[in-house]
Subunit: 555 residues, 2 copies
Amino acid sequence: MSDDAGLHNETLDRALQAIDERTYWSAYPEHPKAYGEVAPSEGEAAFNALIGTEFATGQSSDGFATVEETSPYGISLGVSYPRTSVDTVIHDATAAMAVWSKTSPEERAEVCLEILDRLATSSFEMAHAVMHTTGQSFLMAFQAGGPHALDRALEAVAYTYREQKRIPGPVTWEKPQGSRPPLVIEKNWVIKPRGIAVTIGVSTFPTWNGYPGVFASLAAGNPVIVKPHQATVLPFALLVRTARDVLSDMGHDPNVIQMIVDTPGELVAKDLVMRPEVGIVDYTGGSAFGDWLEENVTHAEVYTEKAGVNSVIIDSLADAKGAFRNLSVSMTMYSGQMCTTPQNLFVPADGVPTSDGHISYDDIVSGFVGAIDGLLGDDARAGSILGAIKGTDALDRIDVAQASGTVLLTSRAVPSDEFPGAIMRTPAIVEVDGANKDVYMTEMFGPVIFVVKTASRADSVELAREAALRSGAITWLAYAMEDAAVDAIVGAAVDGGVSVAFNLTGGLFVNQSAAFSDFHVTGANSAGNSSLSDPAFVVRRFRVIGIRTEAAPAV
Amino acid sequence: MSDDAGLHNETLDRALQAIDERTYWSAYPEHPKAYGEVAPSEGEAAFNALIGTEFATGQSSDGFATVEETSPYGISLGVSYPRTSVDTVIHDATAAMAVWSKTSPEERAEVCLEILDRLATSSFEMAHAVMHTTGQSFLMAFQAGGPHALDRALEAVAYTYREQKRIPGPVTWEKPQGSRPPLVIEKNWVIKPRGIAVTIGVSTFPTWNGYPGVFASLAAGNPVIVKPHQATVLPFALLVRTARDVLSDMGHDPNVIQMIVDTPGELVAKDLVMRPEVGIVDYTGGSAFGDWLEENVTHAEVYTEKAGVNSVIIDSLADAKGAFRNLSVSMTMYSGQMCTTPQNLFVPADGVPTSDGHISYDDIVSGFVGAIDGLLGDDARAGSILGAIKGTDALDRIDVAQASGTVLLTSRAVPSDEFPGAIMRTPAIVEVDGANKDVYMTEMFGPVIFVVKTASRADSVELAREAALRSGAITWLAYAMEDAAVDAIVGAAVDGGVSVAFNLTGGLFVNQSAAFSDFHVTGANSAGNSSLSDPAFVVRRFRVIGIRTEAAPAV
């Protein structure tokens, strides 16, 4: 982008370097202190001022609609959003596309990066919106909902920008014709955006999972219609309001991005995505609707992240205490409501080797359960790790899990002084036999952990592989000391189409996926058909039209 | 690829350069003389020796099957092919994949390029096989079926190789942690091929249209099962035999590529593609089955090239005679049996400007019809341009077309001294009014040309645009002198998702699409969902599995 005069060239160039190198880089600071002294209180005040209001975006609407938005922390949100219709948003998006589709990749990237910068300045407002709609702790809501989501968005913009720029400018094609004059043809190519893009949001990580598709589509010249999850609306509303402000400020039609909400009893996603004008659908959420989209929306490109069953394989332990400490955090943070949270811990019945000799099955289990019990013993600390539970389904699954095996640690309610209405639970830890596949090879999203007793170290790997093939998986975490074991686990992970981390004992948790380095979801099993972000996530968001012109004959 | 010791590095490097630059380049000479003095007679003898034989490929089979292969030149082919089953080819492909999927991108590219070189040495044998199954003239069969198809294959290999190599090798990811030690994670990535690839062949250009998918899939580590068109089998059989020989010679399982044929009354494509082991389907052919694939094969990546209605727009003429001369060839070569052949010639009722003043509608029509009539007046020359007709449907369409408007030139049978049984026809040229959309906005594959009388120059553009949106289109050819007209036509072409050529009067015909420069099919209208070749054609033929390992703590 160095030939362009945009404000954000350096950022985009650095992002392009980062996606090639895949070493550590971040554009938006994850430390709240980096945002200055007044930002926290201003952000909180801005969020509080939204409660109970009519949230205007400026788009065509017929007043405001009440929605079924809920706060796991028990506060009343009471925000209403523009009431519109599928016909209206499709109409306005079509009109916006006529111009937006003809802007240059440089200009589109510039607009996208300005939106991201604007969103970054309101990271505290967004953090409160994410926290109170998803149930995440404040720090997770700030980081994952703000800077980490912005990094993921920037990554998607960088990929999309680069893929468009791989088409050369005008060229002269000259084919020799032996003794006759050569054929000389002037060639050029025009980017044609794919069509109206729909992003269907998820209730738990609306911005982190939603931004990449939104910004990849925008950067490729497509207008975007955002359809938030019916119970988590506010974060997408903030995105849409900010993006529309930036578009207007930069001289573009704000209808390049719009939102449409579900209202009680009336879900709009199916009507929306089946419109022939829709060319792109991005979806994060449960498998049932994700599978429906993949099977029925054949007129558009569909990108899904659905459910999976993630596994931890204990093959051998160089640092048992470190492993239990790491697992106690990764398996409990945000109460297992991350698509990357491990659900199953595979432990051989006859124990495993450690760097200090053999450790028995019972000692592994007691070490693991003890680490979690200790971590969550203090209510205040438990609350800051667990956050609150989004959706009553997760509570039901605790009961189902506790009835399906030997309960090693019973789930308990955690009281909150700050939010008396918060729904907080420690995880249920349940022991099941490896043969009892129907129990643990099903996703139990939320605070449910299965300790799976297996016949052997090899059996653990095979069962994890089978779970990935059967139910999908996004992450594996394995503890293994020997090269042969590592190779076998990598082989099984590749078979299962799931990424794998080894021997995490320190400050990195398997749940965490870093923009510009980790591909989030492989697209190689039923947990999703695409990856955040890789070339495959962006290249079909536009097509290329060729123009050939016979050169005028030489005089 | 410069760090690898393969034989074909220079070719691959040059191809990688070519797809970026998109200026003229070719790896395989299109002039028959480049292949030496004995190649023509040896190739013809090799082809003749195949007639009436059992064609062995070495794959698992239960004897040989009679097929419904036909020659438009009326000769008896009588070749039978290995009789196998969907279960057998899936089983053997699955076994082959276990090893092929683990070879390196370098090794796979090396094998692919060796196959292409081996195919190049038997270009004359392939030319006769293509000619006698498709009905192409010998020179077209040689060039499009041989070197041009090999160029397209090499292009696909280059794209696939490069996309795999964009994933970096092992990297160290080091995230600062303020005053604490950084998080240090070793990262690596593994390519996971998508799954068994099926290529469903077309009757008219089996190698040119089929090779890109076959070789992209092979280069990405997927085994390939080829299902030829039931009436055009031999070219794919030669591909499979050659590729299996090369695989064996280079120490690989020859079942990395297999074929399965339709037998009378038993079409196998649907059973084959619905197998869950299939991850990729490449298809060229009619829209009915292509649409079925796009709508039903949701478990695999589906790449289609289907039917379209191509247009010529006469807005103004700098060189009327040159235009008629160029059109007389492009609209008659291979009797309109190219997916890129123009079907409709849009001419304004009140004529158009030329560089020598105004030309009336009648003069345009008489100039155009006269050019075709003159070109095809001599039977021998007509035969060498028209080739022979594949499929009786095309003959039926001549009658339908001639009954649907004013016949400007009646189709006639062209006798052939060399092949008395050849089915050869000059095109029917039929005038229809622009309002009669149902007639000319439907694809009439074969020797049918519509002259569409329009209300104005702008009306021509609008009708061509509507035809592209309604029925798909692969090529437009426009004659226009003024910038405003060119801009309007480009705008309509982009709307319609169709590539456009301007003012062709010389030796390039709009039907021709050059490897390494022209993207064949845009993927942006119903004529096909993908393009030969671009990154989108290859990036989903593999996925990427991430491996993260916590670095051992510093001592």
